[in-house]
């Protein structure tokens, strides 16, 4: 059961701002101001307008000052999920997070100072410590007042979905009663430059599943969910927002950065998630696609969705919310799971706002306008570099 959810994207901080934005199909991209992009081919991203103040927590002022942007994004989302769940400080609470870069901006600052004479160490030890994802996880624990085992999954762009899926498995196998899980990612120069070097960034506009799509747009943000067993939630009369019911994780060995052209692993991940959830594609009411907007990803995912959905495809609503907030890499799977949760809870479906000419290979309708709908099950896909493929299925509660 999901009893708390927190989300930060370029649309805003918190459930209300994000639900409002996704429900209306808003987009939130702008010029990158966090680092120098003057030499890059593309200069736009979905940068978060981060509040100046962190939410009130147990972290000391000094600890707060040492947190980098990614850690702050995580703290905002974690605090919202924690508060919404109404959890109290506790021991033995597992924390499962997904990220690809951790505190990469601190790692970059470390390097820039390290190569400059006089090669001084001033400020460097703190950068070494706070660059590492485990420090960000420990800070979140300290802030919210809980302790427990930390698992950090770095499966590239599937990390956030893997984190929530793994947390769900801990509950399912009786290894925990509650788990805090999610994903986070701050924009960084290295990763931005990396995607630009691959010419994966759109020089025009991110248009997932559009026939004229020409690349992705990077974003940043975080999402965290408070998961607990039904027994635990019922015992404390917690408000249940929704439920994770299925998880599939499969490896695509085709290529380091390109999916199998027919989306074999994507199909297998969706199929495994359905088997876990004991539902068929006919019962899925909405798919939040990985839908990056790159020619290769979207054609492979379309092939996989066509095959997986079969006859259901022609009426299955699919959209990619990366059209609104970009690709959040290690946070994407968690953010998109929370978008599904909001949609199930509030009875709407988010659109692919930038779609103009649907890719003809898609046998399914691609939502290009916001839609009110009360669906039972939503599936969300996340596929990453290295072939990490993950699918989650969420169910509406009540």
């Amino acid at each position: 059961m999901i009893t708390g959810a927190g989300i930060v994207t370029s649309l805003g901080t918190g459930w209300a701002e994000n639900a409002g934005g996704f429900r209306l199909g808003r987009t939130a991209f702008g010029p990158v101001t966090l680092f120098d992009v003057s030499g890059q081919r593309v200069k736009v991203a979905a940068q978060v307008n981060l509040p100046n103040e962190l939410p009130p927590t147990r972290l000391s002022r000094r600890s707060q000052q040492r947190m980098d942007r990614a850690a702050r994004l995580l703290l905002h989302a974690g605090h919202e999920a924690w508060t919404q769940a109404g959890w109290e400080p506790m021991e033995g609470l597992p924390l499962v997070l997904g990220t690809t870069g951790g505190g990469m901006s601190l790692g970059e600052a470390l390097y820039r100072q390290a190569i400059q004479p006089p090669y001084g160490h001033r400020g460097q030890p703190a950068r070494v410590v706070h660059y590492q994802p485990q420090r960000q996880a420990l800070d979140l624990q300290e802030a919210l007042g809980f302790v427990g085992p930390i698992t950090i999954i770095a499966n590239a762009c599937a990390s956030g979905a893997n984190a929530i899926g793994h947390a769900w498995e801990l509950l399912r196998h009786g290894q925990a009663q509650r788990v805090l899980a999610g994903g986070y990612e701050g924009l960084s120069q290295l990763i931005y430059s990396g995607f630009d070097s691959l010419q994966a960034l759109s020089p025009t506009q991110c248009r997932p599943f559009d026939a004229h799509r020409d690349g992705l747009a990077l974003g940043e943000g975080a999402a965290v969910v408070a998961l607990e067993t039904l027994e635990s939630a019922s015992r404390r009369h917690a408000q249940i927002l929704g439920e994770i019911v299925g998880y599939g994780a499969v490896s695509d060995t085709h290529h380091l950065t390109q999916p199998h052209p027919q989306g074999e692993a994507a199909w297998a991940a969706m199929t495994a998630a359905c088997q876990n959830a004991r539902v068929s594609p006919e019962e899925i009411g909405y798919v939040n696609a990985h839908g990056t907007g790159t020619p290769l990803n979207d054609s492979a995912e379309a092939a996989a969705l066509n095959r997986w959905a079969g006859s259901r495809a022609k009426t299955l609503p699919v959209s990619s919310t990366k059209a609104s907030v970009g690709h959040l890499l290690g946070a994407a799977g968690a953010v998109e799971a929370v978008i599904c949760l909001m949609a199930l809870y509030e009875h709407w479906l988010p659109p692919t706002s930038t779609l103009s000419t649907p890719e003809p290979a898609c046998a399914f309708p691609i939502l290009s306008r916001p839609m009110d709908a009360k669906v039972e099950y939503a599936l969300t896909n996340s596929f990453g570099f290295g072939g990490a493929n993950a699918s989650l299925i969420l169910r509406r509660w009540g």
Partner: protein, 359 residues
């Protein structure tokens, strides 16, 4: 919940002692710290002190694989250790639909290529190499290994401090226990870079950074014989309420090792300030102990993997009935694990919440 036994089918290592678990074992038995080399850093005339993996001669055959031609050392170390753990017939692990899972663990990750790519970005982003960037991603070694072995089963790349390797072992045990996979590789790997050595030196000038990888191949077995994963304790994260020293004691207390004929493989590295918490936690240990980091250097996740490989080798040699592994990590957690010779008449065990205990 009921749990099948978790058997260690194989172990492999690449270390400054050489390519292969035997080289590591021999170096640990000799007990003499390996020679220190100088590694050029950005500051002229101030080489950093490191222990490098020797150049492989001959070059491993797997480097001819299209996915492995241009991997950085960490990928090659990881693959070499994994292939050694698997043995001569890797294809058998994925025959007839058998599922081979991968848990790959690292702390610093693919730092050679990350540093190189970022340097190119700072100089001129328009010429930063698209060939290098994908190799900077934490999970690229696991991806290459999966492609080489042809496995499509679940794989996770875990990051964290060295204790994460034991969490990875527990995760693999969980996957085997739940039937998620039929076999599972757990790999810990790191590569040397001046950036890492420089960072380590900022905290402890005596610390000698090393590199390499270690791997275990685990399988579930209801009634098999061999080297068994007997227990992994809970992870004890460091916090303001549980300082590192106290976490080390908690892990030691939960481990409850049988001191009879047991070898302790600890994570000390001959750096007094770093070692003191672990030394205090295990101060009453009466038996023999080995410390791979003292011989091969501080190699973070790879070193934790070497501890497990050394533990398995010690039990396999028949000299010890069991081996206790203690990892008191640098900035996240304390955790312990135990390997032992399996008796075929032992009963099935139960798993503690959050751990893979079988006792």
């Amino acid at each position: 919940m009921g749990m099948s036994r978790i058997i260690v089918k194989g172990a492999g290592a690449v270390s400054p002692a050489g390519w292969g678990a035997a080289a590591l074992t021999n170096a640990l038995e000799r007990g003499t710290p390996l020679p220190i080399e100088g590694l050029a850093g950005p500051a002229p005339g101030r080489p950093l002190r490191v222990r490098r993996v020797p150049v492989a001669n001959p070059k491993p055959a797997f480097t001819a694989h299209p996915r492995l031609r241009r991997t950085s050392p960490i990928g090659q170390f990881a693959v070499a250790a994994a292939l050694e753990a698997i043995g001569p017939e890797p294809g058998r692990l994925t025959e007839n639909g058998a599922r081979l899972g991968i848990v790959y663990c690292s702390m610093a990750g693919c730092v050679n290529f990350s540093r190189r790519f970022y340097d190119e970005t700072l100089k001129n982003p328009s010429t930063a190499s698209p060939v290098i960037f994908p190799e900077t991603v934490f999970n690229s070694p696991a991806s290459h290994l999966g492609a080489l072995l042809g496995t499509q089963a679940i794989d996770y790349t875990l990051v964290g401090d060295p204790g994460t390797f034991l969490q990875g072992v527990a995760l693999a045990a969980g996957w085997l226990d739940s039937g998620r996979v039929d076999n599972c590789l757990v790999i810990g790997a790191e590569e040397l870079d001046w950036l890492v050595a420089n960072a380590a030196e900022m905290f402890h000038s005596e610390s000698i950074v090393g590199e390499g990888a270690g791997a275990l191949l685990l399988c579930g077995s209801a009634n098999g014989c061999g080297i068994e994963l007997q227990a992994v304790t809970s992870s004890y994260p460091f916090s303001s309420k549980l300082q590192r020293a106290a976490a080390a004691i908690k892990a030691r207390d939960e481990a409850r090792p049988d001191v009879q004929n047991t070898l302790l493989c600890d994570s000390t590295q001959a750096v007094a300030r770093l070692d003191s918490d672990e030394i205090a936690a295990w101060s009453d240990w009466p038996g023999p102990r080995i410390s791979p980091k003292r011989i091969c250097g501080e190699s973070f996740m790879a070193a934790a993997a070497w501890q497990c490989v050394a533990a398995v080798q010690a039990v396999a040699s028949g000299r010890f009935a069991s081996a206790q592994v203690s990892v008191v990590g640098c900035n996240q957690q304390a955790i312990a694990a135990r390997f032992g010779k399996q008796n075929s008449d032992e009963g099935r065990g139960t798993r503690d919440e959050g751990s893979a205990r079988v006792d």
